[in-house]
Symmetry: C2
Subunit: 232 residues, 2 copies
């Protein structure tokens, strides 16, 4: 079966950065490792690509094992392939990030993996090159969310504009003008007024919106200007 006889076969891993949002802060779903190597330390969720498994299928498998969710939004960041990045054995790792609604995932499945939601801002140091992976994932998230409507993936189905604004403020770690933000979002016509209002409020109840999924699909690749240049 080895038909390219002179080439070396190498372990291929996948590592996944799972972002969540609790209404105030960006969160990461991280693994407290109860297995070797680096038992006891924090790491990303990962796994090896299997012999007869499509790469995309493997990514979905790993996300499913962690969250119990299917059809999660995810995108590849890059492949990490430095010699020695995994001290156990030469391994390259295809790194990707996923966005989920923090309340949607299966708690038992996360517990089985010993996974915990930690604040992105004061996350612990991670094993191997996982810190660098998280840095690149955040950079990529900022880049993408400034131009494309992916923030919604982190929110519940129905959400208010102030909630969306808080999300963007968390992603870019910067305050935004309420009135300009609202106008910019509404001008995309991507939001549908559900007619309902957010009942979890002790002051004026904000309008609950829903994503217009058809427009979302068709406009996804168009450029929006959600952030001017605050990001990098």
């Amino acid at each position: 079966m080895n038909k390219y006889p002179h080439s070396t076969r190498i372990l291929v891993a996948l590592d996944c950065i799972v972002f969540g949002f609790d209404g105030e802060e960006l969160k990461l779903l991280l693994i407290k490792r109860n297995f070797e190597p680096e038992k006891g330390k924090w790491s990303l969720m990962g796994g090896f690509l299997e012999a007869e498994e499509d790469l995309e299928v493997a990514a979905n498998r790993i996300l499913y094992d962690l969250t119990g969710l299917k059809d999660i939004y995810f995108e590849e960041i890059k492949t990490f392939g430095k010699i020695g990045r995994d001290p156990v054995e030469r391994t390259i790792s295809i790194c990707f990030f996923a966005l989920i609604n923090i309340h949607d995932h299966n708690q038992d499945q996360a517990k089985a993996q010993n996974a915990h939601w930690l604040n992105l801002k004061n996350r612990p140091s991670l094993i191997f090159d996982h810190n660098q992976m998280v840095d690149m994932a955040l950079e990529q998230l900022r880049y993408k969310a400034a131009l494309h409507p992916i923030g919604f993936e982190l929110l519940p189905e129905k959400f208010t504009i102030p909630q969306l604004q808080k999300l963007y403020e968390a992603i870019y770690d910067t305050p935004l003008d309420r009135r300009n933000f609202s106008r910019k979002i509404l001008s995309t016509k991507l939001l549908i007024d559900t007619g309902e209002k957010n009942q979890n409020s002790t002051t004026k109840k904000a309008i609950l919106y829903q994503l217009d999924k058809e427009k979302y699909q068709s406009q996804f690749n168009a450029f929006h200007n959600f952030m001017s240049d605050a990001m990098i």
Copy 2:
């Protein structure tokens, strides 16, 4: 040395889309294969990741073998990993694109690889999933060039604004307004007037500019608006 005993090791390839520009059209440097598999057909330049080789080093090696150039601009697109994408043996391929000045590369080295510059527009069909790789590379090039000053990588050191415009028109396959394009480019302050003029012209000789490399480095991640929304 196999310390993750239960996992499968897999062949890891790299495949590279090399873009060039002849002043009129976007070009690809493609291989007319004189080796198996798929001998006689067209493909991208590629190679296998070696056992003790950094991924980045491998990409540079493959580009050097093809062009004789070092420090080429390149960026990763994504990793292709479907079962059966290489009919010989399970192989994943890390796909990236590179931008070079079409007149800079070593002709002998290209000839040794049986490489030829072909027009992007009417390129032949390629082996395996290489057609899909080219499609994604073009998409990525359009995306990136709309926001970041990477087009210069395809031009000679000294170039005119009309030449730069022709490049952008080739990338996006669309005509652009001469006056607005010029203003937009000059407003970035990335160009330095060399004081020279393009002598290869039968009418008014255009000013030759040079990239301001310091500003290029520092502004690289800033958003420019080279293209409004014509792209996708």
